[in-house]
């Protein structure tokens, strides 16, 4: 599975949404992505890529697009 597939899957599983919705998603766009859902997303990403996100990166993770920029800091390329 490519990094993009793993990344998209993490969003889909965290919020129970389809891929198309995931790729346009921003924080609070859907009820499931609130501060509680955010922790579920973080857990999914950490598990998928075997990383521990820094607190500031967790806070900054505000959209599908922004998440890719953040993961690049952990040497994950898309």
């Amino acid at each position: 599975m490519s990094n993009m597939e793993k990344y998209t899957k993490a969003f889909c599983q965290a919020f129970e949404i389809d891929e198309e919705t995931a790729k346009k998603l921003k924080f609070q766009d859907i009820p499931a992505w609130d501060s509680v859902g955010h922790m579920g997303l973080v857990a999914q990403l950490e598990e998928a890529f075997d990383i521990m996100l820094e607190p500031d990166d967790i806070v900054d993770l505000s959209s599908f697009e922004k998440g890719q920029e953040i993961l690049a800091k952990y040497d994950i390329t898309f």
Binding site: D34, V36, M39, G40, V42, M52, P55, I58, V59
Partner: protein, 233 residues
């Protein structure tokens, strides 16, 4: 600080300024029993004044807002931490005790209310992280012991988190952590949470408790368990 008196029992309650997480303290003969120590400066001052010789810490679950005060207490006092086994595994892992859970919630609240709580919180917790909790005793399903002549019974209550438990004191009081909060549905969406576990394990346990038992919850006000029965999960 709020003083809660129930017959001969006196419980001191300290609520966190930031996320309203409650810590509870019982103190007898310079022996302290603390449930879910938070970062409240008032709690720290209270304990410094009372100077307990022994501190027993009980954790209702592993989330950071309920364990953030443990590291400071472990540096200052002779402590014994007791919690459920999965909670113990989580809190003893330095990588898991991250402030992010609280920070995300505070940033969210700041955006909504125009406050600056996240920044204040960052300043307050500076120097606490990273930390790991040294757990003296953990249990799978339940544990009982006597503290200052009072029976303490801790029962695993999964659902909100895998390491959640409820703590019954002297058959009069139950500390429920986030497994029962008056007026709010129990959150089972956190990683490792499970609505099914809540319904099959925690709810039956709570249902078995007597109507007049006093609930000291992880957030919000205290109440009799009968009051919570009027609300469906």
């Amino acid at each position: 600080m709020e003083k809660i008196v129930l017959n001969e029992l006196i419980i001191y309650k300290f609520a966190s300024k930031f996320i309203d997480a409650n810590s509870y303290v019982l103190l007898e003969n310079q022996d302290a029993l603390i449930v879910d120590p938070n970062e409240s400066p008032e709690l720290e001052t209270f304990l410094s004044d009372k100077a307990p010789k022994k501190v027993t810490i009980l954790l209702t679950h592993e989330h950071i807002d309920h364990v953030i005060g443990v590291a400071r207490l472990q540096k200052k006092y002779q402590t014994k931490v007791i919690c459920q086994k999965q909670c113990a595994e989580f809190v003893s892992d330095v990588r898991k005790n991250q402030p992010s859970l609280v920070l995300v919630a505070l940033e969210y609240r700041d955006d909504k209310n125009g406050t600056n709580l996240a920044q204040e919180y960052r300043q307050l917790i500076d120097g606490i992280f990273p930390f790991s909790v040294v757990v003296a005793e953990s249990f799978e399903d339940n544990i009982s012991f006597v503290w200052q002549g009072k029976e303490v019974f801790c029962k695993r209550c999964r659902g909100h988190s895998p390491g959640s438990c409820c703590i019954v004191l002297d058959k009069k009081i139950v500390f429920t952590g986030d497994s029962l909060i008056l007026g709010y549905p129990v959150i089972t969406r956190f990683p490792g949470g499970s609505k099914k576990d809540y319904l099959t394990e925690t709810k039956p346990f709570l249902d078995s408790l007597s109507d007049d038992m006093l609930v000291l919850a992880g957030h919000g006000k205290s109440f009799r368990i009968e009051e919570s029965r009027r609300v469906d999960f």
